[in-house]
């Protein structure tokens, strides 16, 4: 698991690398570094960049974005290394530093992979109980919810709520159906009712509109009559007699 096999191709001066064996551009880079036995912290960047490019070209890998990105990064570092710098310039930052850091980090991960792979292999040499009794018909396991957990979750999601949603005013649609039912119920009790009985003192504009439309609709159906005894006076709503309604 340490290194992918290199298939030497006698008919070709280069070598063929099986790409699927690499888990990414860092893996391929590490492989090239090991092949050349060079110091990872003092990377011969020009040489490595050229090798990297030729490998991904040979493999038709230049379509794989991750590899292409790495190729571009290598070329950029190569160019930066060529820039002249003044002697004794303390400010100079090695353009390879970030790549070296990532390579070292990745190398460590590869070591862990070897360790984990070995551990998994050892574990696979032991079998657990093969037969599993069918689960009994049982009520589901009791749930355990901690109020603190729930609140922590609430805090997490509150932070997620996008701004516009915080101020959203939900327009309430007119409730003509409800108003119609309310009017009909009132008129079933009394023959005549006032507008103020229809809408309470704290009526919202939606309530007023709903009630008004319901009244007009009922009047149109001749279920009631609307009258106004005096100019600007209160509206009087009178139940239609069955005969009227017919």
């Amino acid at each position: 698991m340490t290194g992918p096999p290199i298939l030497r191709d006698p008919g070709n001066s280069g070598f063929v690398v099986e790409l699927e064996k690499f888990s990414g551009p860092l893996d391929l880079l590490l492989h090239l570094i090991r092949e050349d036995e060079v110091d990872i912290t003092d990377l011969p960047i020009a040489k490595i960049a050229d090798q990297f490019l030729s490998v991904i070209q040979d493999l038709g890998l230049n379509q794989a974005a991750d590899y292409l990105e790495m190729a571009a990064r290598l070329l950029r570092i190569k160019a930066q290394m060529l820039l002249p710098r003044r002697l004794g310039d303390d400010e100079w930052e090695d353009p390879r530093a970030e790549l070296v850091r990532r390579l070292l980090e990745y190398q460590q991960i590869r070591e862990l992979v070897d360790w984990l792979g070995h551990a998994a292999d050892v574990r696979a040499e032991r079998f657990g109980r093969g037969y599993e009794a069918p689960p009994p018909d049982a009520p589901p396991a009791p749930l355990q919810i901690d109020l603190n957990d729930l609140l922590a979750a609430a805090e997490r999601v509150i932070a997620l709520i996008p701004e516009p949603m915080l101020h959203r005013v939900v327009p309430r649609p007119l409730d003509v159906e409800g108003a119609t039912a309310r009017i009909t119920a009132l008129l079933a009790e009394r023959e005549q009712v006032a507008w103020s009985d229809m809408v309470g003192p704290a009526a919202t504009i939606v309530d007023v509109l709903s009630t008004f439309i319901a009244l007009l609709e009922l009047a149109k159906r001749s279920a009631l009559t609307l009258s106004q005894p005096e100019p600007f006076g209160p509206m009087v709503i009178t139940r239609a007699t069955p005969r009227d309604a017919a």
């Binding site: 037969y131 009794a133 396991a141 749930l143 355990q144 957990d149 979750a153």
Partner: protein
């Protein structure tokens, strides 16, 4: 135990089905049927009454099974084991539904930024939420709310017992809407 018996013991334990005499004999081509039978007998007598399991002849083969007298306790324990905790995803969804009810799936998705369909189904299945009504608008979406067993599990009297959002940590406090009717 004889080495053959030890090998058979391991195989019988690991097998997902009862193993026949043939199966067992195939493990050690050098051993004859007689030796295999003797090994089985050795295992059977070793797992006597003072053990929790026994080697049972079943379906034309042999299989380790727990003794009858423990079956019920273990069955019962299977569901008593580990009270199930909700996943962070489930808790988040539950929190949104608790504070926003009645609320539709779309709004939950929007707040969490991920599809919550599967999580909502799980919560429904566990009886923590229920469909309380249908919303207005396209397709009249199902709106969800919490159930009494949600309160029960949290030990709350009613939804008023939930801390108000304003009481949650200051840093995450929901910005106060400026005199806007909700």
């Amino acid at each position: 135990m004889q080495p053959l018996a030890t090998l058979l013991e391991a195989a019988l334990f690991a097998a997902s089905r009862p193993l026949t005499l043939e199966d067992l004999a195939s493990l050690d081509p050098g051993a004859g049927e007689l030796a295999v039978r003797a090994a089985i007998d050795e295992i059977r007598s070793m797992y006597g009454e003072e053990h929790g399991v026994e080697l049972v002849e079943i379906a034309g083969g042999w299989q380790f099974l727990t003794r009858r007298e423990y079956a019920e306790t273990i069955d019962r324990a299977q569901f008593a084991l580990r009270p199930r905790r909700l996943s962070p995803a489930a808790l988040e969804t539950l929190a949104i539904i608790a504070y926003r009810q009645p609320v539709g799936r779309l709004e939950v998705d929007e707040i969490r930024g991920v599809d919550s369909g599967a999580v909502i189904d799980k919560l429904l299945e566990r009886g923590l939420i229920e469909v309380v009504t249908r919303g207005e608008g396209l397709g009249r979406p199902l709106l969800y709310g919490t159930t009494p067993s949600f309160l029960e599990i949290l030990g709350l009297k009613d939804l008023e017992d939930l801390p108000r959002l304003e009481e949650l940590s200051v840093a995450l406090r929901r910005p106060a809407p400026v005199d806007e009717p909700e």
